[in-house]
């Protein structure tokens, strides 16, 4: 039976968790060997993407992409982190910042497959739809 990328990633994450660095090296070596035997090395990209998601989830980490119209202050960042921790129950928030003038103002948050769009552009669009009704 074919092993899916998700299954690979899941098993790797399980075997590697709470292990010391040298132990990890051995496990990784073995993992690479198994993949070679199964001729699945070409799917490494897929597996790594899945792995990083699973790892983050196990560690209570949440990768969030943050888009603002301008650079934002540390204070706002803190507030956002607190908000997301409350909302999702994550232990730690990993923010990636981006600036995009097209959203005019406000902010857009992306994590997992969710989007919170609090941009000025979206508000204006909603207002337009509301008036057109």
């Amino acid at each position: 039976m074919k092993i899916s990328a998700r299954q690979y990633a899941e098993s790797l994450a399980q075997s590697i968790s709470s292990k010391s660095k040298p132990e990890m090296a051995v496990i990784l070596d073995n993992f690479a060997k198994i993949m070679m035997e199964n001729r699945d090395l070409n799917r490494l990209d897929e597996i790594l993407t899945a792995f990083s998601k699973i790892w983050d989830k196990n560690q209570g980490e949440l990768a969030v992409e943050f888009t603002g119209a301008r650079a934002i202050s540390e204070k706002t960042k803190k507030e956002i982190e607190e908000y997301l921790k409350l909302k999702t129950g994550a232990q730690k928030i990993v923010l990636t910042e981006k600036t995009d003038e097209n959203i005019l103002g406000g902010l857009v948050l992306r994590y997992e497959d969710k989007v919170i769009n609090a941009s000025l552009k979206q508000s204006l669009q909603d207002l337009k739809n509301e008036i057109n009704k």
Binding site: E112, D113, K114, I116, A118, L127, I131
Partner: protein
């Protein structure tokens, strides 16, 4: 003037102050693969079955519907222009099951399966939105089918009566008048308290333009909606068209009204569904149709019903159409739909080319609701007509071999010839039920026996014109709906008076 201005400003102010900006959490996904109107999407972890998805591509918003929910993927069909969607485009969940606008404003319009106008007559204000897929009414809510749908087609109203709430299949090869029967039926619903919905699935748009023109000419568009998924539309639109049409019918059903819905045709619908299923990689079965192709049609046709008085008493009568290949009724889709419906009208190519139009085959056509869906007068004159018509054809084939026939058989043959002459009817000219009773009465009581066969149609047309001029008998049939002695006397007198004016009768 300034009043109007103030009003506008006030309105605008109230709208804007009423608007509250709020940021909602939305579930999004990305297009992984897009081909042939089918998209595979990653993410969308809380997508629902047949939920509306919005594809955001190039600043445009394109609607799609989730059809396959898998572990890491969502398979969706795209309703609309799919050429602009690219890999990696964002897809947003809407948390709404696929729905269409319904309401009285759709009457008289030509719309696409999503309810958008196609006739250039402007925007349609929908009364409500109804889900496209809905579970059919249950046993408790239903009533017996007993009120007639007058098709205005003599052969059908006499032999294969259709009731309100019935599902009667029209089946036959291409180009032998299946749509003609449906259109004549719509035309004949004028003043019968019936809303009509014609769902065109994969039809040529020129044909639909013709139909619309004909219906307008006959004044039938005032109670008709046309749902058009043309031959150039994608399979996804063809697939949802009949369900959308049925949802529009259900609105009137819920208002306690009677609706006639025509699905033209379900073979193309099955083909469209096969295309979608194969592209979604569902396993193919017989004739490459997916395993649930029976359910595809049964869940649609089961939504036709007659509700009892407690539930409004409305009805949906369905006339699905199936096109056969070279008269083969035992192919997969025709047998499926025959077994779902409450009877079928089988149109035969041989009859059609002999000039017998509509080419209804009396032997193979049947209505399982039967004479409960006829007015009493019609029941009386047309009681055994189907049997007689079928027997006549057997007899006629047999009689070709020998010339020595006893008088009884000869009489039967002569009667049969005239019966088939009466069954002939031109397109777009439905006949009122009272007139049908009149002509059948004349036939079964031997008034036409001395009319030469080739003059039968002339006799019939003359009789109808004469009856229009002296309309007491017709009015009486219409009013009583029953052949009482009083009515019979009137009819007899009318026919005898008319025959006295003719010069071509044989002795």
């Amino acid at each position: 003037m300034s009043n109007t201005k103030d009003f506008i400003i006030e309105q605008l102010k109230s709208r804007i102050s009423g608007y509250q900006a709020e940021a909602k959490e939305q579930t999004v996904g990305r297009v992984l693969k897009i081909s042939d109107g089918i998209a595979l999407i990653s993410g969308l972890s809380d997508a629902m079955m047949s939920e509306i998805l919005i594809f955001k591509s190039n600043g445009q918003e394109i609607v799609g519907v989730a059809l396959n929910l898998e572990e890491n993927l969502v398979g969706a069909i795209i309703l609309g222009e799919f050429a602009v969607i690219k890999e990696g485009d964002e897809v947003v969940c809407t948390k709404r099951i696929l729905e269409v606008p319904v309401g009285p404003n759709l009457v008289g319009r030509v719309v696409d399966p999503l309810g958008a106008p196609l006739d250039g007559k402007g925007k349609i204000e929908a009364a409500k939105f109804y889900p496209v897929e809905k579970i059919a009414p249950g046993v408790i809510t239903r009533a017996k089918v007993k009120d007639p749908v007058q098709t205005g087609i003599k052969a059908i109203d006499a032999m294969i009566p259709i009731g309100r709430g019935q599902r009667e299949l029209i089946i036959g090869d291409r180009q032998i008048g299946k749509t003609a029967i449906a259109i004549d039926t719509i035309i004949n619903q004028k003043g019968q308290n019936m809303k009509c919905i014609y769902v065109a699935i994969g039809q040529k748009e020129s044909k639909i333009a013709n139909i619309v023109a004909k219906l307008e000419e006959a004044g039938a568009m005032s109670y008709t909606t046309i749902v058009l998924a043309g031959a150039s539309n994608s399979a996804s639109l063809l697939y949802i068209a009949p369900y959308a049409g049925c949802a529009m019918a259900e609105y009137f059903l819920d208002q306690g009204e009677d609706v006639l819905i025509i699905y033209d045709d379900l073979s193309k619908h099955a083909v469209a569904y096969r295309e979608i299923s194969l592209l979604l990689r569902r396993p193919p079965g017989r004739e490459a149709y997916p395993g649930d192709v029976f359910y595809l049609h049964s869940r649609l046709l089961e939504r036709s019903c007659k509700l009892n008085a407690d539930f409004g008493g409305g009805s949906i009568t369905a006339l699905p159409i199936i096109e056969t290949q070279a008269g083969d009724v035992s192919a997969y889709i025709p047998t499926n739909v025959i077994s779902i419906t409450d009877g079928q009208i089988y149109l035969e190519p041989d009859l059609f080319y002999q000039g017998q139009r509509p080419s209804v085959n009396a032997g193979l056509s049947v209505s399982r609701v039967g004479s409960t869906a006829q007015i009493k007068a019609m029941k009386k004159v047309a009681g055994k007509m189907r049997l007689e018509a079928a027997q006549y054809r057997e007899l006629a084939a047999f009689a070709q071999f020998g010339s020595d026939l006893d008088t009884d058989t000869k009489n039967k043959l002569e009667r049969g010839k005239r019966l088939y002459e009466i069954f002939k009817q031109d397109q777009y000219l439905p006949v009122h039920v009272a007139k049908q009773v009149l002509i059948y009465y004349a036939l079964i009581n031997g008034y036409i026996d001395n009319v030469p066969v080739e003059k039968t149609r002339e006799f019939e047309q003359g009789l109808m014109k004469y009856a229009d001029l002296n309309n007491q008998a017709l009015n009486l049939i219409e009013e009583k709906k029953e052949l009482t002695e009083e009515v019979e006397v009137k009819i007899k007198k009318l026919i005898e008076d008319y025959k006295a004016t003719l010069d071509y009768l044989t002795k």
